[in-house]
Symmetry: D2
Subunit: 338 residues, 4 copies
């Protein structure tokens, strides 16, 4: 942390800040500049957020953080990449992992047909929501446990692994009974009670970036899970909210190589939510491979125009087959395989 | 909903969309324009989100919503303003309601001293967090039930009403035991399980706008609560996330008169989070009165520079006294009183 | 500037950065922390942007600016507020200045009728565009010199002062012939050639904040004008671009007290562009007074629904009369008068 | 355009809007819905922006545009892709075009050394700024004509084509004397006088997307140039401004396939400004190839840590060689070549 004093701060004000830094357990290192004094605070990084309060001390202009506040998720403690195992799959290795399926589980026919199609096209994991976070209370809210059972049946039939969302801590035991990966939706990236409880679960967690979450906040949310004992966390870039309205979100693909520099955790890309535009998904899937993603999450529906949710961004099975053909052409350049 | 076809869409494509609209239970009204066909879909508004899926139908360019998707929160069904009663207080009336107190309850001394100070300055409700949503797992997470008890003691001593945050559905019964208003924090604005459960609670709810939430999404979240049976919802504008970094958030004060046009629910302003800068809070409190806010929520701490959280945006008690003096000067112009 | 080295940076890397800082004319002050070294660079602030290039040096993690890069526009050199004189008017004093009129000058009748109406309602300055920056080349582009002459005629008839936009350096002499204040539109806030040339003009400049401009960038643009010799600069907050779509822009009213802390220059508010919604303008005008604005800029049109531009955010003359009545009620609380 | 009336609008209000639509030269098609009336307006798209003013008419709730307001830049009039010729180069064909060089021309040695290096690595066009738009008036503003001469000398020596920025209409003749492509910088994307004048120039124009420009606004700015007679426009995605601060901008790579759907114009990617982080540029260059970019613009400097501008995002020549090796591996998958 760097505490920058105002031009004209008095000696008493500077001394007071130095004293406060000491009281909070840090060492103060003042630099006396031409126009103002800046003071470095040295010590254990994890509690340093408290030093922000010094902005309330007289004569202080600004408190500027220098270090990254994440530890367990960061590369400084662990320089090799983590591999998260999901059954036989190794997420974060040279194996590229594709999760595909409908936004919502709608019916037995729908989910089994989709599972079969995405399996044949090369996906290894089936996605599908049983508990659905919907903006409107009047929209379809998911089949709940019935949906989970249908996902389990699809796994039985196809051998695909399952990823599905858990929306609230109470549901973790129920959802864990049926799924291989517990998904945290974008709107829950900072649902800290949920994150802590997932840190005690014995399932890998897929943590989606919030549409307004910074890369640093995403990593702090991963830190919540890891610090409770569960280090099987997979990150997912799925688009952020900006002023652009042609696309549903702005797909921040640069976040993928950036995250690979900052964390050892695997990072996958979700071009379906990332763009929200069906015709852009195949191209952006190729781009995600080139950007170094460890996998993809793609919405596929047998009949998008009648989907209960996200129809406008769901691919038909034959479109997904073409997407996978493109992905296969690109994987060798990144030394990856399915 | 308006479904806009591509220039060059075939007659078959247009007819198919018209048929699909009919199948979903709406009436289709095509307009044959110079360059393209647009089709209006008429019927009950609440389920219309499903029509979005038609963007996946061949020949469709865009599906544009026309109507507002909220009903119970909207002014079309209820043209007068709602008054939410909190004990003797009437939020949403000509009584202006001020909620003040620390970000977190830190100790008995701290909360009692603050309660006493804000009561004397004219506040009617004490705020203070016992369960704290913090970006970092290493930051102070709140005193939990111990904090709730201290708030109850402060109420006992001062007669102030209490507002405090509930972070997860399981905690609603516990928090309800001690508080007058259940607060939904900005990061939980779209925690739909929490919203539904609060719709079944028998306490007024203070719903804070998410830093990434549109005004429409805020109203849809209120709709979740009301549609479950609890219509005592108070909305709170507390700043949104933008590119500007001088302030912690961008305080969207225009949202207050806008919300008053769109909804009958009371709307208060939180200039502490709205700006995140202590020196801006008094001025923006006056501006909030002028913008028509039904009340204020302000962070006050006896010693901001040692606060466990939000010190940089907390006022000292004597600064809060000045703020209240300013507010008192402005209230008569809006025909309000404390 | 603070240069933060990576954890694990070698002694050679640190020494190299210290040497480079010296070569660029600054003094280096290293702080050796627990996990990394941070280096303060001391010296004249104005050229320090160059130090950013050190992010390219081996071992450097981040270069963090500490000081504000504006000087002439800042309060550190000049602690009292500047007053910009426009004829008898004193912008930035206890006189509150209202600029009102149509978006575009459309015809002799339109501008004279509007001028007369806004004068009677209490405005002191007539606004109206003769050169119009329009998103589409197919939209009305302004009456150009003809429009300027009509503005001059309106001044003649009413005694109102004139503010009108200049879009390009070549037009400064022409526009200066007819106007009292030269306006820089939001899209030209970083048209640096225009800013420099306006720094050599002998007319006050109204500098509008860009919809993508930070407060710091706005002040740097003012610095361009002042550093060329023209210190008569009036700043204008007119809304920034965010994710919210109900309003045309997000009116960043907190920027007004923030600017008053950072700069001695006068600051006015434009609620017409700030919100883009006619029904919000009167309320946000009151809020702007309470926020400490030195004046207002408001769009008024005799027949908004037939306006060539900005009809949806233009007030009718009778609505403007009501707005001014409200403003008059609020001014005494801020010790201001018209 | 769709004009949506308020629920409860009177027959007189609806009839008035229908009449106004007729007066402006459009055909009105009302749809009488359950809760409100919506009215389609049919006619020539280009002037429809005027219909927005109807938001000021009594009873109107919202005016919603349906059609895209660009014509000449759009694909509806021209379905094949345009190829912009720059000497022998064909931008927008299966030839992939790489523009590389320093942010600013700083000296003869610097530019000649860089030109030589990027030529050897495979670039076909040299970039370098002689007129520099800088946020601060105290930063290096460019060598101006001297810089242009050095660029011309580099062209002479290497055979590379030249792209350089023109900041103001008056400079177009001077800059045209020395350059092959006239660049419009991001901050000038809506400098409409400059755009119009470039529409009369006889040089291809590289139009950079503004950091707050929507895709639609970018195309409207291209429309300005084309509508004046110059259809040799190359678009460039270079990152937009969002809340994320780890990267300088958010590189909106999805805009590339989106633009290819909306326009026939070539689209290149600038990962240097797009990310602002040197270590991300090589990866994002590969991703840009996969996203279908027609070329790249990359900042290269012989000694980034001493660069006068943009050092933190400039590659060293040997890093650029590696980037080009990666690009070469990816081009065949997109059926492109250098």
């Amino acid at each position: 942390m760097i505490i920058s004093m105002r031009a004209g701060a008095t000696k008493e004000e500077v001394d007071h800040v130095i004293e406060q830094i000491g009281k909070m357990g840090y060492e103060a290192h003042p630099i006396y500049g031409k126009e103002r004094v800046v003071i470095g605070a040295i010590g254990d990084e994890r509690g340093k957020a408290r030093l922000h309060a010094l902005e309330a001390a007289p004569g202080v202009e600004q408190v500027v953080p220098i270090l990254k506040p994440f530890k367990l998720a960061g590369r400084e403690l662990r320089s090799d990449r983590s591999v998260v195992r999901v059954g036989d799959l190794k997420v974060g290795s040279d194996q590229f992992v594709v999760m595909a399926g409908p936004c919502s589980v709608e019916s037995r026919e729908q989910i089994l047909e989709t599972a079969d199609a995405v399996k044949k096209a090369g996906a290894q994991i089936l996605r599908g929501g049983a508990f659905k976070p919907r903006t409107s209370p009047y929209s379809f809210q998911g089949l709940e446990e019935e949906g989970l059972k249908l996902l389990a049946e699809a796994r039985e039939k196809t051998g695909l692994r399952i990823v599905t969302e858990v929306m609230t801590p109470e549901d973790i035991p129920l959802v864990s009974k049926y799924t291989d990966i517990l998904q945290v939706g974008a709107r829950n990236m900072q649902n800290f009670v949920l994150l802590k409880r997932l840190g005690q679960a014995r399932r890998p967690v897929l943590l989606k970036r919030s549409m307004m979450g910074t890369v640093q906040e995403l990593l702090m949310s991963a830190e919540y899970i890891i610090s409770q004992g569960n280090s099987d966390v997979i990150l997912c870039e799925r688009g952020i909210r900006t002023f652009e309205t042609y696309t549903r979100n702005t797909f921040d693909l640069s976040a993928i190589p950036l995250l690979h520099q900052l964390t050892h955790l695997p990072v996958i890309a979700d071009p379906s939510h990332g763009t929200g535009v069906r015709s852009l998904i195949p191209t952006m899937s190729k781009a995600a491979v080139a950007a170094g993603a460890d996998g993809l999450m793609v919405e596929v529906h047998p009949n998008p125009e009648e989907a209960f949710s996200d129809g406008a961004q769901s691919l038909m099975p034959r479109e997904f087959v073409e997407l996978m053909a493109d992905v296969r052409r690109y994987l060798p350049l990144e030394k990856r395989h399915l």
